[in-house]
């Protein structure tokens, strides 16, 4: 193939502004049909693929119930019936979040979900799990009761032994509360958003091919990835 010396090479025009550059880049990286797909591969029709969405649902309940608790304050969540209810909703949504997140983690581990250029998906998921742990633990010391007092006085020794007690002080309620309701939840939500965008970009990881399926797919020229069904 020859290129005329008088014609400039065809390329996309340079965006006029930074906002146009960001928009072009975003749409190229994650086109709308990938961002909000209406079909999924057939292998997604399995209960094990449901646990990511269950984790997100539990996280939404955590944020919502936590927002209500933060608005009303400790006097409300300790001494009123409806306060007890939202306190329990917050606790049990966290328990559920970790429960389904662990099952999600096991499922993805045994699928080797980092395959096919998905290592970013795996890494953001792992970091979410690691950041969610101190997010939950700072909640235990933010309760404003004897349980919180006991946990903070015991756990401070571990922080001091690790050499970080001077800037992560479990006896400082204001600091722990700030970590619990702002810094760590913001980090969890931000990383989860990145995790979801990466999943949408790379697609859901396919299962391993069985030996018989792989050889048949090789003969037919199509594997299970080629089939699609309505989600």
């Amino acid at each position: 193939m020859s290129v005329s010396q008088h014609e400039p090479p065809v390329s996309a025009p340079e965006p006029a502004s930074w906002s146009a550059w960001v928009r072009d880049r975003a749409v190229r990286t994650l086109p709308p049909e990938k961002l909000l797909p209406d079909k999924q591969p057939t292998y997604v029709a399995s209960w094990i693929y449901v646990f990511g969405v269950l984790s997100l649902s539990a996280l939404a309940v955590i944020i919502l119930s936590g927002t209500i608790l933060a608005l009303k304050g400790p006097g409300w969540w300790h001494f009123t019936g409806i306060g007890h209810f939202f306190n329990s909703v917050h606790l049990w949504s966290v328990e559920l979040f970790f429960f389904v997140m662990v099952v999600h983690l096991w499922g993805k581990y045994f699928m080797a979900a980092w395959r096919g250029g998905r290592k970013g998906v795996w890494i953001t998921g792992s970091i979410t799990f690691l950041v969610a742990i101190p997010c939950a633990l700072t909640g235990y010391v933010s309760q404003q009761n004897f349980d919180a007092q006991w946990i903070s006085t015991q756990a401070k020794d571990a922080m001091n032994a690790a050499g970080i007690g001077s800037f992560f002080n479990l006896l400082n309620f204001g600091q722990m509360y700030s970590y619990h309701i702002l810094l760590l939840p913001a980090a969890v939500v931000a990383i989860v958003i990145g995790h979801i965008l990466l999943v949408r970009r790379h697609g859901v990881v396919p299962p391993f091919k069985l030996a018989a399926t792989a050889s048949r797919a090789g003969r037919d020229g199509a594997g299970p990835d080629a089939r699609e069904a309505s989600s």
Partner: protein
Amino acid sequence: MAAIFNLNHHAPYVHWHFLQMSVSNIVVIVLMVIVFWAAILIKFPTHGMRGKS
């Protein structure tokens, strides 16, 4: 406020060699394993929809 279980005692623990874990944590881990295998083995309802789309 009444609890379903009597919580007015120390949590029961299992000691086995180096392993020390509360019974409640063991129950949660066993439940997670059961749910994990159930999610793999139980058929997803949309399997019957194959070919109808």
